[in-house]
């Protein structure tokens, strides 16, 4: 029986209150409770976190790197989405 391998989990950690959970790596565990327990031991041995999320890797869907250009390029020519595109008269404050 080679189905002995525990499923893979992606680990996300909030390093301190007020910050996002950030992907830090992955690990194997039989279930979510064990994944959180193991994540604590593997990824927060030096107070790197105050909160942990785990997601089974098979549930993560990703964009395709081969489509990256077509997918992300439409944002390239939309400079007007940035505040620096606009000219504000010198006499106008607080804008």
């Amino acid at each position: 029986m080679n189905q002995s391998e525990w499923p893979l989990w992606e680990v996300f950690i909030r390093s301190k209150q007020g910050l996002d959970h950030k992907h830090v790596g992955s690990l194997h565990a039989a279930d979510a409770a064990m994944a959180i327990q193991n994540a604590r031991d593997v990824y927060t041995r030096r107070q790197e976190g105050i909160s942990i999320w785990v997601v089974e890797s098979k549930h993560v869907h990703a964009s395709n790197p081969d489509d990256a250009e077509a997918f992300f390029d439409p944002a390239n020519d939309k400079v007007y989405r940035h505040p620096t595109f606009y000219q504000v008269p010198d006499s106008i404050k607080h804008m």
């Binding site: 002995s4 893979l8 790596g25 041995r45 790197p65 081969d66």
Partner: protein
Amino acid sequence: METLEMTQEEQFQARIDADVRIEPKDWMPDAYRKTLIRQISQHAHSELVGMLPEGNWITRAPSLKRKSILLSKVQDEAGHGLYLYSAAETLGTTRDQMLADLHSGKAKYSSIFNYPTLSWADMGCVGWLVDGAAILNQVPLCRTSYGPYARAMVRVCKEESFHQRQGFEIMQTLCEGAPEQKAMAQEALNRWWWPTLMMFGPKDEDSPNTAQSMNWRIKRFTNDELRQKFVDMMVPQAEFLGLTVPDEKVQWNEARQAYDFGEVNWDEFWAVVKGNGLCNRDRLGARVKAHEEGAWVREAAMAHAVKRTEREAVAA
């Protein structure tokens, strides 16, 4: 456009040359993938097997403080193994496969861990020299071309410097102690010095894959360059401790601004690599035993998880 005329492989190399990281789902040459799987899993195996020589001393540490420190260090090494196995898995291999290759002897791990740890001073030498050598190897890999590998190495390197410092502190304490303690430190240095120099691998002229690996930026310095750096770093530290490096040829070379040093015993190196070191059988035996005796735990945990999921499905 120029890129249209480039082959996939040329585009890949161009990205590496521009220091753009390669990520798991990006196209990569088969040889790059294979070489990385071998390199990363070998490194992971080294972290795992590397726990054994130090584990030997956890129950014999001379104080509670030393015991806590050593326990922490060994736990870190387990963590390093896990970061690296995860990085290798992103390349399409499995944990089971990598462990099977380690246990069958097909995969290698660092030859240094096939030497025995005979005295408490060996814990000093392992931290100071072996982790010191590992750091030299690992720091440049924080900038390696494969993203998950580089990120794992950043994490590893952050944790390594405590390993080296605690080893140096053990040596320093012994060297400032009774003559017997200092003698113990010197005796350990005598045994560990040469095997540590071997950690950097064969001489450049006997390392035919170096050029390709440097092109791919999965290796950033040659074996001999790193060995030289190590000697230059360590000789003054040994002098500070009042210890003598067991190599009569060690001498400062003013012209090169580096230390000259003697030749590694390459016959011994290859014998250990081929499985005939002092502890090869012990180390592998201990690994296989731990794995096999843990099998029922892994199976039980999985069966429990499956049962609970089913129960939750029925309840829902």
